[in-house]
Symmetry: D2
């Protein structure tokens, strides 16, 4: 059984449903979801890693590297799409009281102003909570702005969909499990890690990034985080293209291990977008093998 | 008059109060607060820039660079401290129903388990909202976990303070105004900017960072952000030590302007911690002046 | 009057003749030629800077930065072409005794073996000295392998020309004068300098080269040289594309001044090949001006 | 039997004598000496690699990488010390005619002016040739400025020694053999190579140097050389600290193999000065092994 950062009806819930239709457990915080993985209550958990609506990457990353290490097994990307959901029988033109989370309200402001101009918008603790409230027959709210999964979960009718003012936004989740054998290489993979820097000087970040650059490894995300131990000391949460078993990634990790006081490997896993990286000349596994063979040959030129 | 990302009683509200005791306007989203600055309704606004409880940097940064440019005028750092607040007459041992936001609940879980073991914790949309609810005489909740400012705002009694399990966390805010003359240099300043990279290749980030490194400018924060225009294209939100009028910073900004298709300067302002940077040899203003004078002298060494 | 590293009849002499037909003074070492410039005996001197036949860059560079500083005013490139020169009346088929410098003999070995197979080759101190010896009517040598200028200088007849086995080699000279106003910018210029590094660590050279790279300045030559003062300490003799008055070069020189304990500027001067550099986007003078104007504008965006 | 770049009596000859007292063959050019190694006439050759008096690095490096590859087996460093040598019976105060090479004359000018002020100095093709001439009983020259080995070779008497004006200079030689098993690692080794760059752009040299820097490999010499094939294209002749079998060096060579179109490995060999490199933290063989073991462990965390 999988767990997730709930409640039911959030985008995280929706992300979970792309993996499994089995029953799953909602936890009220990322930490609780991850701790449940750690103690074996669930065999994995889906948590947000980049989510402008329901909170984010920082909390998840902090929790991943606190306590017993866990590993990312998969990435899930969900379009940020909102709908307007009401109890059965409510018509769009009757909606006067809308309940939703502040972020969702902000993202649908224009649509709401144009299509339900008479409606008053009230903020709820979450979009899922708003759907739950609207689902109560006696609720004083007519409709909720929420994810489709929330509308379905609470048996509401969809009055409109894709009502966000700026379509195209996505939100990113990861499925996390106990550290174990790394996921198979698919050719369209990502690797997540946290690298701690030696000292606070202008060259420290460069030193870390050069370990990737000289080996042809592209970054797709970087975020500095203050470490909790030393003032003015940082670590860097990094996603790179490629898999632990791609030689360029493996060698870059070895390089980090040598120049950083600490490196957390958080997993190699298939990219949600299945996009294969464009590996620069000289950085394919074949190039790595050829280079190793060449250096090997230098030591004993006559053995060939 | 200043605005802020409300509601009243949040850490953002508390941050605002470190600047002014004057009346201020709460806005229900960062965007609304900033738009109010843009149209002149308020002369500035306090918004969160790094806040694990109430949302974060991403939304604020997005809003700062969308629409008419604004500028950061000051940084405010607030310790993340929670208290337990109740209506007058409630004793700690009587607390059975606690209301608070999920993040706050997670951060105080241990304290709550030990000190009010019989209490049931219910999640609210925000800690401030929880305080407001608890303030209602007929509320079924006995106490709220919230910031001190919320307790005060809603006339509650403080049953306990600093109840967070991991003290020492801080949250960061900025005061934002219309782009105008940059704040004076204090010697302990920070500069915030967003740099767009030319292409998605492993060297693009290095190219940007080298513009700082060769001029002795230290980064204190970096975060990559996908740009909305091109898939696989990024920009970098960056804080550096120093002020626009420090020569090393000014020259680094010129360098970025040349290698990046776009750079947003979001302001130079006093650091909240008043810590003065350790400027490496060769990178003080005097060193810059001496270097310029030397190169100038090469053009006409003997004036003869 | 100009001086040159003699004797008459060398490639250096030939390089000098591309500048002037006036009388000139030959000096028996690079140092003597440069000292004559320093004390005003000659107003300039032509010395080899890259010359596989008659000695090289090292001596010249050492002498340039020892004692009162001098400046390079022009670059001269001469093809390394040898001819076979004899006294009037000698026919190619009669040549039995050839005199020349060892390097010239090595470079014409194949031609000599094929075209004067019966000739014995004897080594002289220089190709010019060989020509002078052959010019003596009673000389026991029939012909000299030397530069055309030597044949002309000593009144010899050219039996063959361009007899080197690998045509296309060139040798490089500079005209040196007292440090004075730098030569005018032509758009196809070179700048020569010597940069001393702070310490002997793997990053020191990178630190120097990044000063050029971040400003879009291309190197055309680099050579490490041990410094005479500290064991294991180096300086770097460097040629770059561009002129002191190109903004990218001027700013790079300022950068070096800040990170190096010592920098010698040895002049900006027209390239012998008149090739104009391809300046990367963002590094033209216009880009530098635009960047400076932008940063200037940030300080007072609305002047209000 | 070994060969060397002669004639007898040069510093190269002196360098050879530090290795062996056996008979050796003098060749009249570096190319001839190396070709003799290639065709098996001699089992190795001593040639100058950095020699301000008798020619230099450029010719030797060109020849090493032209034709069948050879390998450097040892480095020999010789102090540049000159003496004044005469036929038996000549006293210092009788010396009127001195014969020597122009470079040697320049390096002893001050001593000669003070100690044999009446002597006229004539330039010879080489210091060894000067000694040979002075050795002829009927020579019109009284003394030669040359290396001690030349005085000994030609049976001359030493009138003075260490007469150079700037003592402390050294000259560097290498013993070269057929490419074969690399010399044993001594812990105080050097590796020589030539790396060709991909294109002529400002970053190409940096790209090469970063391959060393990120692996903690220090350079002790670098020299750019124009390649003969493409105009404006360069290769870099490089010496680094360490041995092919030091893991940091081996991995850096693999890195070069990937980013350069061509790399020539010219040998790992004991440094003449026996100085052991200070290897930075994280770059010892142990660090490389630990890093590899760590990355290995990530792939199958439970197998340990």
């Amino acid at each position: 059984m999988l767990g997730y950062f709930g409640p039911a009806g959030t985008f995280t819930h929706q992300a979970l449903r792309t993996i499994t239709d089995d029953e799953a457990v909602a936890f009220s915080s990322v930490r609780e979801a991850l701790d449940a993985v750690r103690r074996g209550q669930v065999r994995g958990a889906v948590v947000p890693i980049e989510n402008s609506v329901e909170g984010g990457v920082s909390a998840t990353l902090d929790e991943l590297i606190a306590g017993e290490p866990l590993a990312i097994r998969a990435e899930i990307v969900i379009p940020v799409e909102f709908g307007l959901y009401a109890r059965e029988g409510t018509r769009l033109e009757d909606v006067r009281q809308v309940l939703t989370h502040g972020h969702a309200a902000a993202q649908c402001r224009q649509w709401l102003a144009e299509r339900v101009p008479l409606a008053q918008v009230t903020e709820a603790g979450s979009t899922a909570g708003a759907a739950a409230e609207v689902a109560r027959p006696e609720s004083r709210y007519d409709a909720a702005v929420c994810a489709r999964v929330a509308g379905e979960t609470y048996g509401l009718t969809e009055l409109a969909y894709a009502i966000e003012d700026n379509p195209g936004a996505v939100t990113r989740f990861v499925e996390v499990g106990k550290a174990g054998p790394v996921a198979d290489r698919t050719g369209a993979d990502k690797t997540t890690l946290v690298a701690y820097m030696r000292e606070d000087h202008s060259g420290a970040l460069l030193e870390i990034l050069e370990q990737f650059a000289v080996r042809g490894v592209n970054l797709t995300r970087i975020e500095s985080r203050p470490t909790k131990t030393t003032l003015g000391s940082y670590c860097f949460s990094i996603d790179v293209e490629g898999h632990l078993h791609d030689k360029r990634v493996g060698e870059a990790l070895e390089g980090l291990h040598r120049v950083c006081p600490r490196v957390h490997f958080l997993g190699s896993y298939a990219r949600a977008d299945q996009s294969r990286p464009k590996i620069a000349d000289g950085f394919t596994d074949d190039s790595y093998d050829a280079a190793a063979a060449w250096v090997e040959s230098l030591g004993s030129p006559y053995l060939g």
